[in-house]
Each structure stands twice: as structure tokens, then as C-alpha cells.
Symmetry: C2
Subunit: 313 residues, 2 copies
Amino acid sequence: MKYIGIDIGGMSIKAGIVLDNGEIIAKKTVVTDAKNEQKTVSDIACLIKSILEENNISKDDIVGVGIGSPGSVYDEKGIIRYSCNLNFKNTPLVKLLKDATGIDNIKVSNDANCAALGETLFGAGKGAKNSVMLTLGTGVGTGIIVDGKLLTGNHSAGAEGGHITINLGGPVCGCGKKGHLEAYASATALMEQVKVAIAKHPDSLLSKRAAEEGVHGKLVFDCKDAGDKVAEAVVKRYLKYVGIGLVNYANIFYPEVLIIGGGISNQGDNIIKPLQRYVSRNVYGAEYNPKIKVVAATLKNDAGIVGAACLVM
Amino acid sequence: MKYIGIDIGGMSIKAGIVLDNGEIIAKKTVVTDAKNEQKTVSDIACLIKSILEENNISKDDIVGVGIGSPGSVYDEKGIIRYSCNLNFKNTPLVKLLKDATGIDNIKVSNDANCAALGETLFGAGKGAKNSVMLTLGTGVGTGIIVDGKLLTGNHSAGAEGGHITINLGGPVCGCGKKGHLEAYASATALMEQVKVAIAKHPDSLLSKRAAEEGVHGKLVFDCKDAGDKVAEAVVKRYLKYVGIGLVNYANIFYPEVLIIGGGISNQGDNIIKPLQRYVSRNVYGAEYNPKIKVVAATLKNDAGIVGAACLVM
């Protein structure tokens, strides 16, 4: 069987034709016209038509189209409630695309949900029936799979798992509330933690290299690998914050696997090994239950396409 | 249709015959012989037989038997892994009871799970497809319903939701880790908070009445109602802790309803109104989504029997 997965991003919209085993047999990308809602919808419709045509596949030969979108998505109604980056506002995306393409089986979900679904079915969590994926980026996105199904909550308003309090009165989160996991464990939060360390330790390697290269995502890990104790301390503390988030989710869901996504996951064992140790030591009832595996996402840039296609599998 | 619900407690084992509408038409109780595992199992078997006999119901006329047990339960295997109060240790309760009673459809789950299921189907959460119940007692128990089904996690090891960190480095929880919700929001934690306030404010009404009555569960609420500012401050802060737990669960699950159980829930609107305000103000995306209702459990002492029966409905 063949499925189409669409990954809507702020910069580009990617489409792929996906097989039952998660393999992408064709890809096509267009630049996102983020300011114009109608243009975005029409671009997606054209992308679907052209990827089918170019690969000599009739629309009757695909099972359906799955779409991953940033922002707040009302899955059951096929509506994008809002998406800051894309100018969607209560956009009935599924209905508009059904009308424009004549394809009847179209579904949409939040992009973090799609990534978790893709990773769980075909990536780092393959074989798991229960998983939680934390995507550490600008914010902390969560995608949660329970018994093989996406957990979305009433009105698809759940799985906003970056917004759980882990420290009363802690730093202000992007959402305006204090002490949320996102304010400690996002890539943005790590950058802030690096900046504080630089100001405190102007003679550190971290500080010197930041002056040359600027504060980028890999900097603190590179400096730690080069033996800088200040960078090591920042990474250690940051991973503890991520670990606390993981353990909270482990104690609620006891999944087979916890998946780390986002650019930081490229650090591989550098972060996965200490996170695995932290989870194994701190999860409730670990002595009586199977080990929960901590893994890095593996689908990388394809996660969006594959995960979206999973919505109609 | 008729179902049997069994509620195993440290003091007594209660059985009830329950109808499809959640109504209990007969009840029977025996004292728990907590020290003797085999005796407990045999007592439950006898309880099932005698409640059927006394009500002239054949075992073929019941759909099945559901059992709620304290401790760590492996639902799918029908095993009680351990239960401090009951001397169960990897006890294959379901198999033993099937053999003893000849009834084939027997299921078991944790008692907090059963209470949440009962309250969601027939009590405070009636009509909801998604709910989270916090039982505020010696610890903080959680029961979670997703799309009408109990969330139990891999090996039924999940839903240990009292053990989520809400405050880095906070007070030590019953499980030995720091800063868990249970260490702030259990009835035990409230008593501790009351004791600290008494020591700090020896002239308060709270302090005077504690000297007369001892520190009991209702004391701080009674003193608050009598106008004591110290008690008022303790209650206010305690409810904020409970509120933080509720909002964490709301942001993960976005259920229709959050249910408060345990003795403290008898305070009714005294606690439900401020908790509702706290949740409505702090839940993520509240402006775009339906209000999450905060309610007090209504089944009270019957929750265990009704909820256990729900396991086989």
C-alpha cells in the first residue's frame, strides 16, 4: 500500500510517498508562503497532485494523505486552530484539501505528534506499543503513544507536555507561566544556561569559543568534549533537567521507550547514556519492572513525512 | 447484566453485586486477614460464593468479577506483584480465584485505577471519555482514563502519578526521591504543613485547637472556616500545590474532567472552587479549548466496588 505524508514547516512544505514499511519512495518540496493561508492550502494541493503525477501513481492507488502541521491542531475536525508561523486561524485544512484534490481520506495532526508516531512505528521506538517523545528545540514538544495510538486529549488539546511544572517559581516559560519543563530542557533554555555560565566564567574555554563562534547549539557539547569543566557542568545540569522530564513521563506512562528528538539528539550517546542512567535510577518501581529504554530519534528530517503518513496507516 | 466488584483493603474486603447503571444491589464485607496470603485469597473466593448464594444468583448469571487491590498489580497477567499491607508477593490472584470459584472472567487492577474508572463511568466524571483522578490520602494516587480506557502502561507499571517532580530538590517523598507531587499534595503532606505552621504560630487558633484535638485531617479546614488566618494561608498554599499537579495532568491529557478523591474531597466547594479557578487560569491553551471541570469524587466508599466491577463491564 502507498500513503502520502506532508510535513508543513515554516520554511518548506515536504511531501513523500511512503510504503507500509515506512520507506519513502519519492519526495518533493516547495517553499512555504507563510503569510498567505489560501496560498499555503493551494500549494499543498498542488504538491499532492504533482508528486502523484511525477511518479505515475493514481490518487486511487494511495490509501490516504496524512499531514503534520505546527501549531494547535484539532485532529478530529481536521482544523488548524492557529499556527503563529503559518497564518492559519481556524483553517479547515482537511476539508479544503479534500475539495481541492478529490482525495477523501485526509488526516492532520500536530507535527510533534506525527514525529512521535513515525519514530514509534518505524524509527527509534520500533516495536513499542507505548512511547513518549520529547523534542528539544525552541520549545519542548511531546508526542505520546498509548497502546499504539496517539494520545491527543479532548479537542486534541493535550500532549502539551513541555508545559508541566518541574520547579515551583522557576524561570518563566514561553507560555508565560513559571517553572515549566520547557524553561529548563528546551534548546533555547540550554542556550540561556550557557550564557549565564559564560558571564560567570569569562576565562573558560566555553567563554572564549563563544566570543569567536557565537553561542550555537553544539558549542557547549564541543567544549565539554574538549575538556572544559564549565561546559561539563552546564551539560550535566541540563541533562538532569531533561532527565527529570523523562522520569515524570516514565512514572505516568511507563512506556517501553523514551525518545529524544530535536537537534540535541544528534549528540547521540553523549546525552543518551547519562539520560539512560538517570531514568533507570529514578523511575518509580524500576526494580520490579522492565527497563525503559532511552533512545535518540533516528528518522531525522524524514520523521515529519513518515509520521504524517502514519496518520492514515 | 450483573457484575461483581471486590474492593480489597487493609482492614476489610468488600464485595458488591453491581448493575449496568453502576447501582449496587447487594453488599457483603469480611475482615482482612492481612498477614496470610492464602487465607486472603480463600476469603475472597468465599465472599464471592456467599454473596451469590445469599442473593439467589447463579455464577452463570454474572458477567464476571472485577477486583481492586492496593499495591503493584500486573493487570494483564492478573498478578499482584506486591502490596505492603497485604503480604501479597507475585500472587497470581486471578488464576487462584478462577480455580477456587469456577468463574472464568476475573480481572484485577490497582485500587486507584478502579476508583478512577468507577468515578468516570458512574460518578463525578460521568459522561467523560478522558479523566484524571487524584486521590489525596497517605500518598497521591492517580487513575487515568484515556478514550474510555484505563491507562496502565507497559507491564501495568504506569499511572504512578504522585511521583512526578514538581519542585527540584523539594522535600523527600515516601519513595525516597525529592520534590514529588506526593510530598506536597498528599493528606500526609498537608499534616506536615500544618505542623510547621503550628510551630511557627503558637498563638494561632490552629495551634490552640491542635493542642486540644490533635492534628487531624479536618483541623486546618475547620480553623480556616473559623477565621484563622494561619490556617487560611496553609490551605491556600496546599491547594496551590494540588492545583499544580492538576494543571500538569491537564496539559498532558486535556481531559474533560479532573476528579479529586480521598478524605479531603469531603471539603467540597471549599476546595473545588479554588482548584477550578487555579486550573482554568493556568492550563495551557485554555482560551481556545473547552473548560476542564474540576470535581469532587461522589461514589465515596462505594467507588472501590463499583470501579472494580467496571473492569469486567
